[in-house]
Structure formats: structure tokens, C-alpha cells
């Protein structure tokens, strides 16, 4: 610890200690910690984790939208700028136009080729997402009319689009469409029929509805004040949905935030717990070997072979989860009870490989106890495998939770979770991909965080990786 400068080749004198330590000696764990702090991957993963935590905890405070609020006029909207809507009267049931002075069916059998395309196809009133009303002129000899709707200009009789309805008589010359109307171009085609078969002629009209909202709804959603003097026909701005809406018109961002709680809780706790259990179990089995190993591994096989669905149903009943209640804790327990064998098996395999290494024998000769051997030597060397299972356990737990909420365990509707949002999103994968992409993205990010953390930890902990 001397600070004075000693020139080279000067004979040393007694009492001078020349070997000095320039910084404190590091234990294995301290060294690992330092390496971890400097590791880029670990740092990135830290940022991601912090980001997710903020999203989950602080998000709902900043974005105060009710995740359960349904808006059936904005189903499955892609992310976009806030739309404008027209204030409209509440929907009132409408009677179709049926002419008195026109026959409802032809008197004699009509030749289908004589039925002409209807003329005068027009909308009645302003077309909105609440309703689109059409009328047309009757066709002589018709026994009814079929109405089709498409989203592009029809190119022929086979391309008329969705068959919406068929009116029951030649004198019913109007139709009201309320089927899932969005603000886009619609092309309606009217085809006359003879009461049974359709003719080969049709007329098309293009209609673009505006989004409608009633006064009550607007107040309910907090878009206007209760005493606002906004008039029917004026437009107001709808709520902004940065991530779009889901299949019942609920805000995706709010649902993602609420779903984060469940998914991250399950996705982090469950894997940690069952990996921990798996490590202990597999470590024991591998280290002690022999009969104990056999017994423990047979039990692990037993657990794996049990039919998963059946036992989940049983757990649900055993834990007495009431209908519609969120059984998160029982599900956690169930996941742990059925998820540990894979880790246990892997760890055991590693331990079997490691325990025959020279340094283990050496340490034992030095007098190390078993617990020391396990903690100091064996475990760090199994880190690689453990971290891999951890990375894979996370999405596995999230999707198992989604599957379980299908059968009634886990979170009850309307509470979302990322996994169940994925399940729902898959159905509309091709037409509304945003419903699948966003939850899947969040799951991927979480998995990425764990992956990077795992890599960082491996580099920090594993002695073999350090010697580079």
C-alpha cells in the first residue's frame, strides 16, 4: 500500500510491501454484477423493462379511457386520426315502402330474361353508419328484389358482393341496411327476382355514409357536455384511438394497458416461480443421482403425461372460482404445478454433465460442502440452460393464460390480457391485422427483454464466456 515511487531494479528492503492491490478484490458475484452493468444487451433489456413498467403502471393514469367501453359504431377501426361524426337522432324503426298498386308477384311465370334492371335507385335521407336506406322503381314482373353490397365496383353478376337480403314481393321497393356500416365506399346492387330465382340484370349505386352518433351517446362518452347546444346535423370530433379499436369498438391502447397487468404478472411471476422450482428439483436430482434421481424424474414424467385440459378444469373447480371471477392466483398455481418438469429435466441434464468435472472433485477435496458446490459451482454453469427456459417460459405462460381464459379460468371478460387479445385478433388477422399485431408486438417485446437479459446474464455469469 505504499504510494512512493520505487525505481526498477532497486533491491527491495524488508518491510516494504510491494505487492499492492490497486482495487478491492472482487468476489464472483461482484464481478458478475460489474460485467452485467456494462453489458449492452442487459442495458437495452433494462430500458425495455422500465418502459413496460411505465406503460403498465403510469399508462392508465395518462390515458384515461375505460377499456370496457364499447362503441359499436367504430368496430375494428385501424389506428388513424380522430374521425368526425355527425350528431344524429336516435335510430327509429322504419317501415319499408310497399306499394299498394303494384302486384307482389307476377301473375304468370315470367321469363327471367325479361326482368330489367331497376331504375331510379337512390338513397332515402342522409346515409350514416346508423342506417342506409335505399329505394328504387319497381320492375314489371318482379316477385322480389335481392340487394347486394360490395366494397368495390362490381364487375359482373358474380362480383356483386355480400347478399344482404331479398325483399318479399315485387312491390317492396325499399331496403334499410344496418349491417356493420363503416365510413367507406359501398356499392349496392339491386337484382330483380321472380320470387325464386334471380334475373341477370342489376343496378348499382355508390354510397359513402358518415359516422353518426346520438346525443345520448356523445354525452355518455364524454365528447360533449350535458348542456351543450350542439344541433342535429353538426359534426363533432370522436375520441382519438391511437392504436385503433377492437371487435366491440373498445380502445386498443386502454385494453393493452389493462392487459399488461395480467400478462406481465403471469408472464413474469409464473415462469420465475416454476423455473425456480425446476432448478431446485432438477439440481437435486442431478446432483445426488441414484435412486433419488430416478424417483424424482419418474414423478416429473408423471406430471408431463397428465392431460392438461382435464386437470385445468379440475383445478378450476377445486379452487372454487366463482363464475365470472378472475382466478389469477389459482391459475398461477396451476401453471406452476404443471410447468416445472421441462426446466427440471434440462437442469438435471446439465448437472449430470457438470458434476463429473475436475473442479468439482477438486473443490470437494478442499473441503467444500455440498451446498457450496451447488451454489458456487454448479448453478452458475447451468445458467445458460436456465436462462433459455426462462425466455421460453414467458410467452408460454402468456399463451397458456389466454387458452385458460377460453375455458373460463384466468381473467374473466371484459378484462383483457395480451394472450386473449391475440386469440381474438387471429380471427381478423387478414382484414384487421392491427388487432393481432399490437398485442403480439408487446409480447414479442417482453420476450425480447428477457432474451437480452438472459444473454447479458450469461455473459456476466458464465466463467467460460468471460475468458475472451
Amino acid at each position: 500500500m505504499s504510494d512512493s515511487f520505487v525505481p526498477d531494479f532497486t533491491p527491495a528492503s524488508h518491510g516494504q510491501s510491494l505487492e499492492h492491490l490497486s482495487r478491492p478484490s472482487l468476489s464472483y458475484w461482484q464481478d458478475a454484477w460489474i460485467r452485467l452493468r456494462q453489458n449492452t444487451r442487459a442495458i437495452i433489456s433494462l430500458y425495455i423493462v422500465v418502459g413496460l413498467a411505465l406503460f403498465t403502471l403510469a399508462g392508465p393514469l395518462l390515458w384515461q379511457v375505460d377499456p370496457a367501453l364499447q362503441d359499436l359504431n367504430q368496430i375494428s377501426q385501424a389506428p388513424s386520426l380522430p374521425k368526425r361524426a355527425l350528431l344524429a337522432d336516435p335510430y327509429e324503426r322504419w317501415q319499408p315502402i310497399i306499394l299498394d298498386d303494384f302486384p307482389s308477384e307476377p301473375e304468370t311465370d315470367m321469363d327471367l330474361t325479361l326482368l330489367t334492371a331497376p331504375t331510379g335507385v337512390d338513397t332515402l335521407g342522409e346515409p350514416t353508419t346508423q342506417q342506409i336506406r335505399l329505394r328504387w322503381n319497381p320492375v314489371v314482373g318482379a316477385g322480389g328484389y335481392s340487394i347486394y353490397r360490395n366494397q368495390h365496383v362490381p364487375e359482373g353478376l358474380n362480383d356483386l358482393g355480400l347478399p344482404l337480403a331479398t325483399t318479399l314481393g315485387g312491390n317492396e321497393i325499399s331496403y334499410e341496411d344496418r349491417l356493420n356500416l363503416e365510413q367507406r365506399e359501398y356499392y349496392y346492387s339491386i337484382v330483380p327476382t321472380d320470387g325464386f330465382d334471380e334475373a341477370n340484370s342489376y343496378s348499382t349505386i355508390k354510397v359513402v355514409p358518415t359516422i353518426a352518433i346520438t346525443r345520448e351517446e356523445a354525452i355518455h362518452r364524454g365528447l360533449i357536455e350535458a348542456d351543450s347546444d350542439i344541433q342535429i346535423g353538426e359534426s363533432l370530433s370522436l375520441r382519438f384511438h391511437p392504436f385503433g379499436t377492437d371487435y366491440l369498438g373498445r380502445d386498443m391502447l386502454a385494453r393493452l394497458m389493462q392487459g399488461a397487468r395480467v400478462s406481465l404478472f403471469i408472464g413474469i411471476c409464473a415462469p420465475f416461480l416454476f423455473v425456480l422450482f425446476g432448478i431446485l428439483y432438477g439440481g437435486f436430482a442431478g446432483f445426488f443421482g441414484g435412486q433419488l434421481d430416478s424417483l424424482l424424474m419418474r414423478f416429473a414424467d408423471f406430471v408431463v403425461a397428465l392431460p392438461f385440459l382435464l386437470f385445468m378444469i379440475l383445478f378450476k373447480i377445486a379452487f372454487g372460482i366463482g363464475p365470472g371471477e378472475s382466478g389469477v392466483l389459482p391459475m398461477l398455481i396451476a401453471l406452476i404445478l404443471l410447468g416445472w418438469p421441462a426446466t427440471a429435466r434440462l437442469v438435471r441434464g446439465q448437472v449430470l454433465q457438470i458434476r463429473n468435472n475436475g473442479y468439482i472433485d477438486a473443490a470437494r477435496l478442499l473441503g467444500a460442502k455440498n451446498s457450496y458446490l451447488i451454489i458456487r459451482h454448479i448453478l452458475p454453469n447451468t445458467m445458460g440452460v436456465i436462462l433459455v427456459t426462462l425466455t421460453f417460459a414467458v410467452p408460454g405462460a402468456i399463451f397458456t393464460e389466454a387458452f385458460l381464459s377460453f375455458i373460463g379460468m384466468g381473467v374473466a371478460p371484459p378484462t383483457p390480457s395480451w394472450g386473449s387479445m391475440c386469440n381474438e385478433g387471429v380471427k381478423t388477422m387478414l382484414s384487421h391485422p392491427h388487432e393481432l399485431i399490437f398485442p403480439a408486438l408487446f409480447i414479442s417485446v417482453t420476450v425480447l427483454a428477457f432474451n437480452l437479459l438472459g444473454d447479458g446474464l450469461t455473459e456476466a455469469l458464465d466463467s467460460r464466456m468471460r475468458s475472451r
Binding site: D301, F302, P307, L352, Q353, T391, F392
Partner: protein
Amino acid sequence: MLAYTLKRLLAGIITVWFIATATFMAMHMVPGDPLMNDKAVTAEIRKNLEIKYGLDKPVTEQYFIFMGNMLRGDFGISFTQQNRRVNDIIRDHFPVSATLGLLAIFFAATGGIIWGALTALYRNRLPDIIIMFLVILGISVPSFVFAALGQLLLVNINGLLGFSLIPVAGWGTFSHMLMPSLVLGLGTMALLTRLMRSSMLEVVNEDYIKTAKAKGLSPLRIFFKHQLRNAILPVITILGPSIAAITTGGFVVELVFAIPGLGRYFVQAVQQLDYTVIMGTTVFFGAFLVLMVILVDIIYGFVDPRVRLQ
């Protein structure tokens, strides 16, 4: 070796017995039974049905009857498909699932080993990053998405070509098996890639590798002779149960690709509470799993001589 195998087989039989018992009990504890259906039947008919199927006896007696039958190899007749014996169901459909599963494992194993090795050898360079990105995508996206996308891909390829190059669904020829087994093996492939990577990384820096390089051995030789054998143990550990899991869990793939495999029966039996099929498939898969694990443990000894099991 022989004594070891025999001991393991005996332990395996006991394990299967435990599996059967636990499943039997669980099955009877769950509410509902195979005789309930959408259209309710009168009490008399129900009574008759119970007597006919032996469900009127106390559960313990049913258990012993079942055990007796099982030892004779008779799993009874399915409740939902009332003219098919469970043995026939397993015999007809297991080979399909097995073929699908083995092919999937083959894809998963070769893919996993190759990609894993590549990421380890090119650590932190472009191949590593791309492959790891795909691995993460592969495990973050649920398997039914891949099944749907895979089928869609085939439809588009066929449409582009104007004729059906690869069938989009069904079973029968080798080209029927390609896409389903690929989709089925994806998850395991991702896991194996990751495992292989981490164990390869450990091996790559070992001294004996440096020695081999110093001796002038070609990288390929080093890979096959040294790195692979040392790194492959975790892969083998997973492979055993993976085979069993993939053969069971092919439910989604079998559904989407209209494959007459056993996985569908496995899941539907639980939904329908078809007692006989549940017991038959569970016991069969349990035995299959146990066998696979035994096989894997024996292979351990060959691959890594340092591992002594006694």
C-alpha cells in the same frame, strides 16, 4: 446396460399406472359425464344408458373394472363414436400423428442445431441477430397463427402457379406432410436454436477447441467432432419429451390441415368427457412419453461418456 434398461422399464410401468389412476380420478371428479347431451333424455333412458356403460356402479368399482380391462389391453368403446373401439382409434390414428410428429422433430432438430450453431459461431454478427430476431418472433406468435399463415401461403403459391403444387390440406402423400410438420416443428425449432446457441457458446471458448484450431483442423471438422457432441446434450434432453409433446399437441395443426391424427381425439375427448377415449389416449401417450425418456437417457450415455447414470 440391460439391467439398467429393465429397471427403467419397470419404473416406467409404475409411472404409467400412476398416470392412469390420477387421470381416472380427475375425470370422475369433473362435473358432467359422457352421457349428457344437448337434447335432454328422460330419466329412464338415462338410467338404461348408465347401466349399459357401467356408469351406475360406484367409482372405485369402475376403476378396478377399468384396470382389469387395461391389463388385458382393452380400452373399451368410445362414447361419442359409439361403434369404434378405442384400440382401433389409437391404431388407426396414431401412425398419422407419429409420422407428422417425427417429421416435425426432424425439421426442428436439424433447423435448431444448424441455426443454433450458426448464431454461436457468428456471435454478435449479422446472422446471429437475424436468426435471434426470427426465434423471438417464432415464440411470441402463437402456433395457430403460423398454421393459418402457412396454409394461406400454400393457397397463394398454388394460385400463382395455376395448379395445385402442394395440397393445402388433407393427408396421404409426402407433399401433404410438408407444411403441417414445418408449422408443428417451429416452436421446438426456436427452442432448440436457443438451447444450441447457449451450449455452443460455452463450448466455443473451451481450450480444447483452441487446441484443435491450433492443430489446423478445418472448422467443419471441429464442429462435428468436438463442438456438436459437447453442446448437444441439452438438445437431446428436450428431444425426448418434445417428440411426445408434438405428437400430442398437434391439435391445432391437425385441425387446420384436416389431418386424421390422434391429437384431435385427445382434445375433443376431454371436451366431450368421453371417458374411454380419455383414458385410452392418456395411457397410450403416457407410455409413449416414458419410453421416449428412457431412450433419451440411454442415448445420454453414448453421447457424453462423462455422464454416468449409476
